[in-house]
């Protein structure tokens, strides 16, 4: 190589330019990529009547709903920008308030507890009503969907039978120590270990596993590293893994329906109408089914969303 290059100085120069060009082109093509679809779009652009920025949690099920919103809006000629996969509530709500993100699939109970940890609302309708009051200036919710996806505490069938536990109320009688597994933020949530103690008088340890009730959480439960785990109620794993969801007679968890959270600036009549139609059509069984397509059939969020929209034929 070297001899060739030293022999042909011009060739070397040209090759050098090509190599530099390749690097620059790589950088250039990369930065001219519609990064807007995933990142750089700021609030100013959106507020000025640009595409509506839809966000989602870093949770596959939430991303499917966000994708449904996006495709439904697109089907109605409204431009959207997808900014999915934004951490947990504490990370994305500030972005919604600032307008960096404008529309977001949310869950009524968890959202209410975020803004009003002392809330006494329990039923679906009460929670929805309370939520409208609790939201900060600039944010509003559209109609809530009948589909629910709420935190729930689950144990293995063996644990349930061995200890006679089917409800959170039964836990206080269990003599062996209980460790709760879930995402790290659960530890500070009102329905976390502290809530269990104050509402049901149960003391539990805590182990953080950051997969949102995914495979490691369930594996840890099965091999008894933890004895109880937080899994969202629409998670198909509850059924496939034969887990027992403990009843919650004292209402530690609030009812939590899927609800679109929107920045007021973006809540035009057209957007509101489209998204409300979607919410009305999405049932609890649908949601479990959508999740199962993702987890068990390994479908992409895009395909799952378009499949569902086709099925319900709203537009």
């Amino acid at each position: 190589m070297n001899h060739m290059f030293t022999a042909m100085k011009k060739g070397r120069l040209v090759a050098g330019l090509v190599a530099v060009g390749a690097v620059v082109a790589l950088a250039g093509c990369a930065s001219s990529d519609p990064l807007g679809t995933t990142s750089t779009s700021g609030s100013s652009e959106a507020a000025a009547g640009g595409p509506i920025v839809i966000g989602s949690q870093a949770y596959y099920s939430n991303e499917i709903i966000a994708e449904i919103y996006a495709q439904a809006l697109e089907a109605n000629g409204i431009e959207v920008t997808r900014q999915f996969n934004i951490g947990q509530r504490d990370a994305y709500l500030p972005a919604l308030e600032s307008g960096e993100v404008q529309l977001f699939p949310e869950y009524t109970g968890n959202l209410l507890q975020y803004y009003d940890p002392e809330t006494t609302a329990k039923t679906s309708d009460d929670v929805y009503a309370a939520l409208a009051d609790a939201l900060p200036e600039g944010l509003e919710v559209l109609d809530q969907s009948p589909a629910t996806d709420q935190d729930s505490y689950n144990v293995t069938k063996e644990f349930s039978e061995a200890n006679g536990v089917t409800s959170l109320d039964d836990l206080a009688a269990v003599t062996t120590p209980i460790t709760l597994g879930g995402n790290s933020e659960l530890q500070t949530r009102p329905y976390g270990p502290e809530g269990l103690l104050s509402t049901y008088g149960v003391t539990v340890g805590f182990t953080a596993i950051e997969d949102s009730g995914g495979p490691l959480t369930i594996q840890a439960l099965k091999d008894n590293t933890v004895q109880m785990v937080n899994i969202y109620s629409a998670d198909p794993n509850i059924k496939t893994s034969g887990l027992v969801t403990l009843e919650d007679p004292k209402g530690l968890f609030l009812a939590s329906n899927v609800v679109p959270l929107i920045n007021t600036d973006a809540a035009t009549p057209e957007v509101t109408e489209v998204i409300n139609k979607v919410s009305a059509a999405l049932t609890a069984a649908d949601l479990v089914d959508l999740n199962s397509q993702s987890v068990n059939d390994q479908e992409s969020a895009e395909d799952i969303a378009s499949g569902w929209l086709e099925k319900v034929a709203l537009f």
């Binding site: 290059f5 050098g16 790589l26 930065s31 990529d33 990142s39 750089t40 951490g87 390994q298």
Partner: protein, 232 residues
């Protein structure tokens, strides 16, 4: 495998995002490190302090650094700029010592010869010092490139798209092939970057390829020393 078939587009998009995220820090890290490395050599007493302090930046855990960027910079929370700046900091931390060593490795006699030929120190730097330290700088840049490509995956934890998405998403959905795809795609980008850098080196620094066996042996030994210096 089902997952891979239906997600090739996603993988490609993420690779493009990933490249976009990695290229600026690699280039910026290189450009920033050289004057710092030069300064470190120029004023001997400052050398140890500068190199140690900047080197320690590399031990700041990455997730907090990503999270604190918007607070420090005033950028939007979800802006990729946060990750780019953080990765640049790591790139500088890795590159500065190599830059200093590379510049210091230039034979003093050569520098004196250049001065004797009437080069100003500015000319001497651009025409003699920088090109002659090229091989060492290149080896450092290759390390920075590999490390940056790997670190950029963590951007996903603060919501900036990169191949790391395949890790967190595959984790939740229990799809090992998705995680494996993410790892392979990351390595692929790293290899392509590395090849481009090597090519660039061959073209711009033709003298760094030894002509005789003696030189080759010496060059090899020098890289050996560098490698063990931590630039492995």
């Amino acid at each position: 495998m089902k997952w891979l078939e239906s997600n090739l587009d996603l993988v490609w998009e993420l690779m493009v995002d990933h490249v976009a995220l990695c290229v600026p820090p690699i280039l910026l890290g290189f450009v920033i490190s050289i004057p710092i490395g030069w300064l470190a050599n120029r004023y001997r007493p400052s050398r140890g302090v500068i190199l140690v302090v900047l080197g320690l930046l590399y031990t700041i855990p990455s997730i907090p650094l990503f999270v604190f960027m918007p607070i420090v910079l005033g950028t939007p929370l979800l802006s990729p700029v946060n990750v780019v700046v953080a990765l640049t900091i790591y790139a500088v931390a890795l590159m500065v010592r190599t830059a200093a060593d590379g510049l210091a490795s230039v034979d003093r006699d050569v520098l004196q010869a250049a001065s004797a030929m009437g080069y100003s120190s500015w000319q001497r730097f651009w025409r003699v010092e920088l090109p002659l330290s090229g091989p060492v700088l290149l080896s450092g840049l290759r390390v920075v490139s590999a490390s940056t490509v790997s670190l950029a995956t963590l951007g996903v934890i603060i919501g900036v798209q990169s191949l790391g998405y395949l890790f967190t998403n595959g984790f939740q959905r229990n799809i090992p092939i998705e995680v494996v795809t993410g790892i392979v795609a990351t390595l692929l980008i790293a290899v392509v970057f590395d090849l481009l850098l090597v090519l660039l080196g061959r073209v711009l620094l033709p003298w760094s390829r030894g002509d005789g066996r003696q030189d080759a042996r010496r060059a090899r030994r020098r890289t050996a020393t560098l490698v063990a210096e931590g630039i492995s």
